[in-house]
Amino acid sequence: MDTTLERKVVLIIDDFQNMRAQLSQMLESLGVKRKPDVAGTAEEALELLRSRHYDIVLCDYNLGEGMHGRHILDMARREGWVDVSTVFIMVTAENSAEMVMGALESGPDAYLAKPITKELLNSRVLKGLKRRSPMIPVAQALRQGDTRQALMLLDTMLETGRGERTDILRLKAELALDSGALELAEEVCEAVIREHPVAWAFTALGQIATKRRELPRAEGFLRQAIVVAPQYMPAHDHLAAVLELQGRSRDALEVLQGAVGRSWRSVLRQRRLGWIAMQMREWALACSAWQQVVELGRPTAEARAEDCFNLACSWLEMGELARAAGVLEEMDEVAASDPLLRWWAMAGRLRMAVHVQDDKEPALDALDGLMLRSIPPAEVRQALVDILRRLGEVTRAEVMRQQFQD
């Protein structure tokens, strides 16, 4: 039997116990010696991913309770729990339309549609390992924060022809970009594009131009990336950011709306959309964006108290008092671990008092009480100043503004 799988550390994420058992059994018959770890919920999965490094992750796409495999993958990649050496395979109930294949952006190495057979699982896992294994030393260097060593390893791989060339070049460009070696990053991207115009390389060039403050040029590259691969979401996100930097909020809003239309399951994208929508006073849009932030971010504890506050404010602007109140009531649960929770709850109560006059005095008393014990954190101050002004408490607002000015 093939010994490639013998010592691999595997995690299986599926809400269906029988499915976990079946996958586990299949892996055993394929030669995996160590019993795979299993997770039935997103919370369990994230906890395990945080605590150790896995060689192979099999993750169900549809985990129930609004939690999707895509979301876990995005988060795990962002946190570095799933890195360039990890094989991540998404298991789906159907060959879903939302699948975006692995060659693209941060997608999984493969999708496996149920019913899964041992043969296909074996082939996809081995293929993933073949692609990822040469990256193990690079991933180790990166875990130790040694970007220089990682770049050196990648160059050696390019010279000796080890590993997938396109993966190596892409990682090299990313690392160069992150460490501020813009010339190197640019050189790699241009070389890649000469061979084959790919979205990630155009996007990286767009990011480089942004860092150099060449905004129209950046916009050009990012738009090219979207032409090449409209489903490559990072290009949309960076384009919106570049448009904002140019002060073109309306255009940025349109780009983000389009991006959310394509791929709405991203807390960060929805949050960005929420901010711009509020800025443009597009309250219906703001409501829907903040609602998504709260719902999507809740199971992974990504939702913040501030998100609830923004949602409540947007509802109030729409004249929906009851809904706003409901959101504020839920804030405790949604953002239980947010250290700024009580301050945003306070801000929310004061904001409600703009409409519910009866609570104005008690709310102000509560604010005074809170301020006796601690200083309002920087993040909340501006919101508090604005609300106090709206409450007609001009002096308080001014005191708050001046007292805590840096």
Binding site: M19, N62, A93, A113, T117, L120, A229
Partner: protein, 232 residues
């Protein structure tokens, strides 16, 4: 859940049923593998069970896809897909049954060939075609894909008895041709394939399905023609 329309109910039910079918098929594969190591008359019945279970599975997927597409709920997602992977998936998913029937499968496809398709729809189509081919072929089948100018030609050929004469040629999806419940053949599968092909296209070119006999192998040959599209 605020908006619980029929499509959602259908999707959830199918998701559920597919989980069960998944276990059923997995267990059948295991049983079939065990049975193959000792001579037994149960093999044939197991293989038949497996074929039927897969058919239920395929029909469920088609049902959902058709419902969504007829109701305008399905928004196709065209993007570049590695065709080799797509074909390999159906070969490996049916390998146990092929091994059991002593069917040899060949794949002819450039591993780097990528084409803009709706992966979900083409998957549903292949699921249907391959399952049928494994059932009707004798000893060999061949899955192949190649580019011919601005078209992708994807073929599944076998050395079975071939298609009946009245089925040959380009398949139209407009007329409900071939619907014959009396024969135990609803024609839904072929109708579905033609619909999937047709959804791949622009104003000038539309994909289509063609049935022929005697291609690379002496039996039937299913060909899917897909025009070059831009990712959208």
């Amino acid at each position: 859940m605020s908006k619980l329309d029929f499509s959602t109910v259908l999707a959830i039910s199918i998701h559920d049923m597919k989980n069960s079918l998944n276990l059923l098929l997995g267990t059948l594969d295991e049983l079939l593998e065990t049975e193959m190591r000792r001579p037994s008359i149960e093999q044939e019945r197991l293989a038949l069970l497996r074929y039927e279970a897969r058919r239920v599975n395929d029909t469920l997927i088609q049902l959902l896809a058709l419902y969504r597409s007829l109701k305008g709920l399905y928004r196709p997602n065209f993007m570049p897909v590695q065709i080799y992977d797509l074909l390999e998936e159906y070969w490996l998913n049916n390998k146990v049954l092929m091994d059991y029937r002593g069917v040899e499968c060949h794949m002819i496809c450039d591993p780097d060939l990528a084409w803009v398709v709706d992966r979900y729809l083409v998957n549903c189509l292949l699921e249907n075609v391959v399952n049928n081919t494994v059932r009707y072929t004798r000893r060999r089948m061949c899955m192949s894909a190649r580019q011919s100018g601005d078209w992708l030609l994807l073929q599944v050929a076998d050395d079975g008895p071939g298609f009946p004469a009245e089925m040959l040629g380009r398949q139209s999806f407009q007329e409900g041709a071939g619907f014959d419940p009396q024969q135990g053949r609803t024609g839904l599968g072929l109708y579905f394939c033609a619909l999937v092909a047709n959804m791949h296209g622009d104003e000038r070119h539309k994909g289509f399905v063609e049935l022929s006999n005697g291609g690379v192998l002496p039996g039937g040959c299913f060909t899917l023609h897909l025009p070059r599209l831009l990712p959208a």
